[in-house]
Symmetry: C2
Subunit: 213 residues, 2 copies
């Protein structure tokens, strides 16, 4: 299979973690979001939403949206479970996926920040504050929701889709110099995750399309 | 069960449709987002994310996030399926859920518009243009993705979770005077949905907490 993605896209990062946890090798096709490659005809045909990631199966059929891709992998590929069996636990995991994947990341992703800077002509500082505000809002809720839990990962003893979503969001928080000491529970889970090769190998900096420096 | 929601919240609207399609009666508890009731202690204890909807089971256990709630209902309640059986079809449905539930609605929901108007001090016209821009972006992608499909509902012959997400987003589009004639495929599916009692009974205007007028 092929994964069209971008090293720094948190949605791509989530799927890389999930693929690694499942032990699935894919060919990584970089789409340079900074350079606007997602808007070029080539990619627009692959993903009409002009977003990454896109997973292309061996038969050429394509799947979009990180949450949908991860659920698909869970339903079709053997290997470690990314969702628990119990429906209530599954709902908790999916609630975290949405808290991050809907209520946090999309409000501070590249296309939104570009709109604030371009059409709305807001200064860089205001744009950075915007990103910080929504990231901190999301992480504050998540810390509250999970503070009383003492499992190794967010809600479980093995990593789930919720952890696949958490780590890229914390990576974004650090990019915006958010003080992670305000989120002890999330930081603890982060350390546990990053010690796993599946998370380590998915890190943005280790991707082929990451700049050298 | 109890559903904490708000008549005009599109996330609440999605869950109302799903509950109706499954034939589940719940007690509706209104949380007035305009009046800021979601930030009051009472509700903050129910949903630390200060968002609606929250579904409370008879045993008092609570579930948050419309997508997670709908998946939970699908996994635990008999009745018409809100997701097809085929994993690839399920991925398509979930991709639509995310296109709307993550990449469209949360960028133009009340708390984001309030931030643009309050802290960023932008004029109402700019705030309205913002909402229109992101709604139109989402619907344009979705129209492209589904234009070649001729099924009664978005991708199927019976309504799915994708349709539960579509209809509230179109409702929001109309609030912002977006010309729906640009989206013939989506408009066709909308008409088919709104002819069903499950969708009709979930409409914002028919909710107990909707203003009279």
């Amino acid at each position: 299979m092929k994964l069209f993605g971008y090293w720094r896209s948190s949605a791509s990062y989530r799927v890389r973690i999930a693929l690694n946890l499942k032990g699935i090798d894919v060919e990584h096709i970089p789409v340079n979001l900074r350079a606007g490659e997602q808007r070029e005809d080539n990619y627009a045909k692959i993903n009409p939403q002009l977003l990454v990631p896109t997973l292309e199966r061996e038969d050429g059929i394509r799947l979009t949206q990180s949450a949908a891709i991860i659920e698909y992998l869970e339903e079709t590929v053997a290997g470690p479970a990314l969702l628990p069996n119990d429906p209530l636990q599954r709902a908790r995991i999916r609630s975290v996926m949405t808290l991050i994947g809907a209520d946090t990341a999309p409000i501070q992703n590249l296309r939104v920040l570009k709109y604030l800077k371009g059409p709305l002509d807001l200064p860089q500082e205001t744009v950075d504050d915007w990103a910080r505000h929504w990231i901190a809002t999301g992480l504050t809720s998540l810390e509250k929701m999970t503070a009383s839990s003492s499992s190794s990962y967010l809600y479980t003893e093995t990593p789930t889709a919720a952890d696949c979503f958490l780590i890229p969001q914390i990576y974004n928080a650090r990019r915006y110099d958010i003080d992670m000491s305000a989120f002890p529970r999330l930081s603890e889970v982060e350390a546990t995750c990053l010690a796993l090769p599946a998370f380590e190998a998915a890190r943005p900096e280790t991707q082929a399309d990451a700049p050298d420096e």
